[in-house]
Symmetry: C2
Subunit: 254 residues, 2 copies
């Protein structure tokens, strides 16, 4: 896909941003809603006087978090980068933090240039959810069989048509085939984590994979069923969407 | 101190409770304020029809958290404990969780019977506070010298008069001498933690100790000054009260 050129007299900038998605209606600007994109555009306008469009590596839904979202935008101003970052953090609410600001080459696009992404999904698998983690973990009371989840995960890895693990396969402009490079499940005490790495993800794909793996972990679905679901290309009740607060966009590679 | 007897026809119960103090004006009931004590009394009334007074091992201030607060109360009802706990958690907001409910002997008092307590104070010692930790860490940008903090901490341990590390020494009914059994400082990456263990603590004592140790860590105060401050029994600007959100009541021993 072609990257739109940087307008004359402007330079492209790239930022790494972390946010707690609890209070936001997701990434994308929507009328009358608090969104992360809008907050960033608002503070850049306040700092530079320039009305910019901030694009990201991908939208995150309401309640989903980012540890390392990458965004880009174009500015006529040439701010001192360290000071610009500090200014952003001074004006932003403390649930959004700008971690890094860099100049980027004109051909850089946070989504189109991305070579891969990592998401992590966290589950609290115990009877009582610690109050400090309630916004950052999905709660599954029934003991999860991590061995079965690992087996199911291993069958989904590879270059596959993930239509059955997407919320809206018909609206995916680049089709529904994606290369899922890794899907790992680990337990540490009551915490079960799912790490998903790939060249790209469909809409709600990670939460669908997590929802399916949770069903496998509770014994409701056999691990091998994942292959059948993949081949069917049809989403069924065996693939629920796991709740948003367990999901973190962990990092993006270029 | 004498423990008031359990009224005839009632039994004493003890609960371990965890709470995120962010949204509360502390532990203690105050008119027109959201407090943890009130929330517990409210749900016990809803579950049993009994208006109880819930007492704790000690008050926590607004914004202070508890991982293992212990409380007690008396009931005429004899609920099934597991079901009672589940009922409490179903009615409470998810920032307060009842972890354990047990019958207690009539002489048990969550504060008077306590043999010791552990508090932990957490500091994020990096330039940018991760948004997910903002309610659970104090933020100190200047690099902390943990070795100096450890030295200062070691000089405060023991049976001492902590009047200079208390917010209101004249209102302490049991005097201002306490046995501070341990005061440990550790670093793990950008996270610096202070663990304080003792037979009892004065009002705001842990946050005062943390405030002083942070001053030592930034180099503003020499570690040895702690001894002088202790002996003076007078609180000065060298002992600021560290912010509440770093503090957790970790556990109570009986």
């Amino acid at each position: 896909m072609a990257v739109k050129p940087v307008p004359a007299g402007k330079r492209r900038y790239r930022m790494t941003v972390a946010y707690d998605g609890t209070q936001y209606s997701g990434w994308q600007v929507q009328p009358h809603r608090k969104t992360v994109q809008w907050e960033l555009e608002r503070v850049i306008l306040a700092l530079t006087g320039e009305s910019v469009r901030v694009d990201s590596s991908g939208r995150t839904d309401a309640g989903v978090h980012a540890r390392g979202q990458v965004v880009h935008f174009d500015l006529a101003a040439t701010p001192v980068l360290r000071r610009f970052r500090q200014g952003c953090n001074a004006l932003l609410a403390d649930d959004i933090r700008v971690l890094v600001v860099r100049r980027a080459p004109p051909g850089f696009h946070s989504r189109i240039s991305a070579a891969g992404k990592e998401y992590r999904y966290f589950i609290w698998n115990g009877e009582i959810m610690p109050p400090f983690l309630r916004h950052y973990r999905a709660h599954v009371r029934k003991p999860l069989n991590v061995k079965a989840m690992r087996k199911a995960a291993s069958l989904l890895v590879g270059k596959n048509d993930f239509a059955a693990f997407s919320a809206n396969p018909h609206r995916e402009v680049n089709g529904t085939v994606r290369h899922l490079r890794a899907l790992k499940v680990a337990r540490r005490g009551a915490e079960v984590s799912i790490v998903a790495r790939g060249d790209g993800f469909l809409y709600k794909m990670v939460r669908s994979l997590a929802g399916f793996l949770i069903r496998v972990g509770t014994g409701e679905v056999e691990p091998e069923v994942g292959k059948t679901i993949l081949h069917s290309r049809i989403r069924t009740a065996r693939v629920p969407t796991a709740p948003p607060q367990g999901l973190f966009l962990w990092r993006v590679w270029y």
